[in-house]
Symmetry: D2
Subunit: 361 residues, 4 copies
Amino acid sequence: MARTLRVALIGQGFMGRAHSNAYAQVGHFFDIPYQVDRTVLCGRNGQTLEAMASRWGWRETTTDWRTLVDRKDIDVVDIATPNVLHAEMAIAFAGAGKTVLCEKPMAVTREEGERMVAAAKNVRTMVWFNYRRVPAVAFAKRLIDEGRIGRVFHYRAVYLQDWPTSGGTTKAWKLEKAGAGSGVLGDLLSHIVDLGLYLNGPMTEVSATMQTFAEGRDIDDATLALARFTNGSIGSFEATRYAVGCRNRNQFEIHGEKGMLRFNLEDMHRLEYFDATLPANVQGARSIMATGPDQPYSNNYWKPGHVIGYEHTFIGALGDFLNALGRGSEFHPDFADAQRVQVVLDTIERSAKSKSWVAVE
Amino acid sequence: MARTLRVALIGQGFMGRAHSNAYAQVGHFFDIPYQVDRTVLCGRNGQTLEAMASRWGWRETTTDWRTLVDRKDIDVVDIATPNVLHAEMAIAFAGAGKTVLCEKPMAVTREEGERMVAAAKNVRTMVWFNYRRVPAVAFAKRLIDEGRIGRVFHYRAVYLQDWPTSGGTTKAWKLEKAGAGSGVLGDLLSHIVDLGLYLNGPMTEVSATMQTFAEGRDIDDATLALARFTNGSIGSFEATRYAVGCRNRNQFEIHGEKGMLRFNLEDMHRLEYFDATLPANVQGARSIMATGPDQPYSNNYWKPGHVIGYEHTFIGALGDFLNALGRGSEFHPDFADAQRVQVVLDTIERSAKSKSWVAVE
Amino acid sequence: MARTLRVALIGQGFMGRAHSNAYAQVGHFFDIPYQVDRTVLCGRNGQTLEAMASRWGWRETTTDWRTLVDRKDIDVVDIATPNVLHAEMAIAFAGAGKTVLCEKPMAVTREEGERMVAAAKNVRTMVWFNYRRVPAVAFAKRLIDEGRIGRVFHYRAVYLQDWPTSGGTTKAWKLEKAGAGSGVLGDLLSHIVDLGLYLNGPMTEVSATMQTFAEGRDIDDATLALARFTNGSIGSFEATRYAVGCRNRNQFEIHGEKGMLRFNLEDMHRLEYFDATLPANVQGARSIMATGPDQPYSNNYWKPGHVIGYEHTFIGALGDFLNALGRGSEFHPDFADAQRVQVVLDTIERSAKSKSWVAVE
Amino acid sequence: MARTLRVALIGQGFMGRAHSNAYAQVGHFFDIPYQVDRTVLCGRNGQTLEAMASRWGWRETTTDWRTLVDRKDIDVVDIATPNVLHAEMAIAFAGAGKTVLCEKPMAVTREEGERMVAAAKNVRTMVWFNYRRVPAVAFAKRLIDEGRIGRVFHYRAVYLQDWPTSGGTTKAWKLEKAGAGSGVLGDLLSHIVDLGLYLNGPMTEVSATMQTFAEGRDIDDATLALARFTNGSIGSFEATRYAVGCRNRNQFEIHGEKGMLRFNLEDMHRLEYFDATLPANVQGARSIMATGPDQPYSNNYWKPGHVIGYEHTFIGALGDFLNALGRGSEFHPDFADAQRVQVVLDTIERSAKSKSWVAVE
């Protein structure tokens, strides 16, 4: 009989909704060793909280997260709040022995991140770098690990959104330093830095620049960086909310001696693979539908040729985490992994300020 | 307070799973006037039925569908069984006053379909031609209705799958006349005929051919048809399970005096639109992400640039149906619409046999 | 020392220009055993003929093609006139022992074509089905011949143009039966039928329909056909000038047990190849740049990654023909090959009239 | 009557061939005020020179370029030699009053470039940054000049080739400092810097890195740079010969407040345009075939939908230059424009050495 896992979720915005969906759906698609109980939904806006809890099946609500810290009937706390609140909450809950899940960016500063890692050293943690769980991305990782790309020369990543033209928010905590800590650095670049570390290993140094386009805004609208990796490859990272024409292009390209991989979140069911070990005349970028068979998660969802969506990246992350939790096995990305991202983000900020290359760590 | 709607689902295969998910999720994404109660799951395989019911939240199970007919505590019956069983079940449940939902193809013969329509004339019905609820398809319909395409010249539809090479089933009720009634005719062609009728109106005549590639199989592996439409356009329809290289290409292209529309289910979040009313030098096929804003269903799911998947076509169909049911307003496609599809399928079969053009109706 | 080959070209329109370019360029890209002499340019419009001859390096001009028949100083006659003139000219020149090149469609009727083949049985001939010489098409042929596709199930070809919206001609010999003999049947469908025969072998029967959209026009604006091939595959062919949104989509798709090939003239430097013999999880449609290395014509033009254009299909056809002529070896497509196309076109017309399937031959 | 323009071409390699073709073809596609006379072909390899001259219609050959300096019967000298020879030759010919055309990169150092500009101040010059003459690129420039993109936020350019896997040269002057002066910096990055200056205006500062992957090579295999432009936008530039999987991806993307443009040389007949001034729900990246009508060069070559190739970029550059020469009007890019590229390249080299941002000029 599956054990009951009692979850408290803090956050009632877009991420609150995405996480709620993941808790509702994870048992439908993953064989997990738990009965997930949506115990408490916590948020600051009492007026809408009840309706959201009712819609998504949360049994209770509260507007005061501190009341959750000492509750014995809560096993897992999931933090999906504005970034500036992550550290205090995570440290409190970890201190109380809870399993802690945290939205990205894990922290607002490197120092905060360090404290979070330290506080959580005796509890299980997970950070919602959900794009690792896109089947196509997980498949890219598998192909790399199998040696299909060989020695890597280039890693090139962008995360391009177009807030001014796609009806994106113009007023939100994400657009203020007081809520988000940074602009695209934490919101978008953190995702592609995490994927870069995951797929291509650690970086040695970066040179970056940050830019604010909007009048009177105190965060970065765009951040670009060049990077050198430990494996000898060179790369570039760019995140911006001013890439008019790109709704949600989280893209990477990896060129190695044996081939190329390319992924774009806008077409998340596809992975492009160029196999340079084939005879030259039949080489070409191959568009693989990452809906199975024999690919990551292809037994979890539907059938080959039948796509999944954005929300399944959260379901997949949660499914993997709950299984790791149940088996007591490793899970990545945890707080330590996320702190590696924080270190790169911090180095990027320092490089942008000093206008020079800065070593990572 | 939302009324409780008690549902019985008959079917425990792939469609049973897709429908179950829709019942579980519809309230998360749609404002519906019901509390959906997953009352009974019915299926013939008692060994796996319980596990499936438990996973998907069905309160009871039964292996005998006839016991459901007279139960007063069931409002809606959803038929997701092999095709040959649809008619008997639907007629029985409609006769008992139930709201009846039925998988496609609605029937195995035109005559069966006629009887189903007659039997259901006093109840609400829905047929799961779910691809009408792909946001990109619904958006195509809207653009057509707005006159963006103008007089139509050509309608071209294919439904291409590659069962031999994509790990598709080789033994299943779908591959036998005794279970499915036909091959791709009912399974795939029915979908693109429904979309053709929905988007381009009635057909006047067809010329078709049917082909079996596999040794000893008694159904069509491929069916092709030319068609003429009432609106003066000409079209073609092709469905096959032997289109090696195409995992799930349900595609249509419409060319009118003012523009072109193109859709491919493999990239279901996109609609291609060529606006021929623009100056010639800036005309081009435009790849529109149908994830909002201001597009069908863009307020239901996530945010612009964040895609949904195959399963959401079922959620969308159910959401629309439940709203129509609650308001007492029209819903399409119902049994009468599905019967129009049956008539075309029947005409195609007769054309293939007679090797000549045959008038529709 | 290369022998001089004296050429007379009849035609001063778009094809006259494309052929002139081929004569000027063939020696730059092909090692041919001739010095090509652009001896005479013949056309009916005396006012523009001189300027065209001067621009393209023709030494003489004439407005009377009959004066060319008995000239001893002409080795090759190239017919690029309105279709209705082909037969009379070709028969006259073949009778005079000239090597005869002829634009497509070779003839206006099957009977004309028969007479042309008979008249030319002792001379070398070539018909400008130039798309066989697209490197990507020639490479497709090579892959098929190597067995990469295996048993073929489906052949699907379209030739889609959008004359009403792309600034296409509205008054021209191509739009009148008196000049062209037919509409898209001869102009566009002939191309894709030729490629179909070339790539997939003979057809056994067809079912077709023809349509005129424009008021008062006496030719077909669109022709669609279903076909069965000797090799057991089934196919479809569609040609239209009313495919708004498609500038010049001459496309084929072939599905066989081992893979798929797809080509579109709008992106003529690419061939898509799906290799179904690879493990299922790395299968995908591969976009091969057909610019070399180790592909047809990759030593003739530039370097891998550097594309050629429409005009090179004429240069390639001519280069291959001149080499075959010099070596006395076979060349295809000749008049006999083109007559096989005529037979299919004739069968399509009869099928459209009889509204039934008609056997080819 | 058109004046005769007597041309000497120095160079018998790949560029010698591309330029020869341009001289042979320019009069076929452009109305130019000259009769171009291919007077002398000059090259160091006497063994192959004669055959090349014969094939491409050059009347004379020489292996000593110095003999050309004082010849009165030569009007134009075109330098298509290894980069390290450009300066000495150009200065000598300009001093002798010749019109001078020079391959890119114009010079090997900024100082060389300065001397070339000074020496050529009284003669007409042109530098073969031929990609400005891709119709799609010229059309992009027109759209920008029309204000279709508005205020620019981002400019992103890559030039990606895959020499190790596409059968590229492994031993050539291009791969040695003694012949080329630099690696991809001069060969590939120069092209995208020129396009960047052409399309987006001057840069103010750059941060760059250069990398050699091959053992024992003394030039850069890859160069990456971040840049800031005078117009307030930020950009990135990357050139590499180690982008396995990319045959010839010379690509740019421009994001402005009103739209996006994207171009990739591998599909040089297309320009992608996202018009962000349209209603949000019909916005999308539009693939425009840049084959006309009403686009740059659409009256020079074939018909809408009929593509041209790589070689036509040289023909177009030459056609434009000869017309400017004949009319005495401005032509770009000339030596002064190319020197602006040299300044950026020089700044990039200094930035890579100093590992910091360096101001341009």
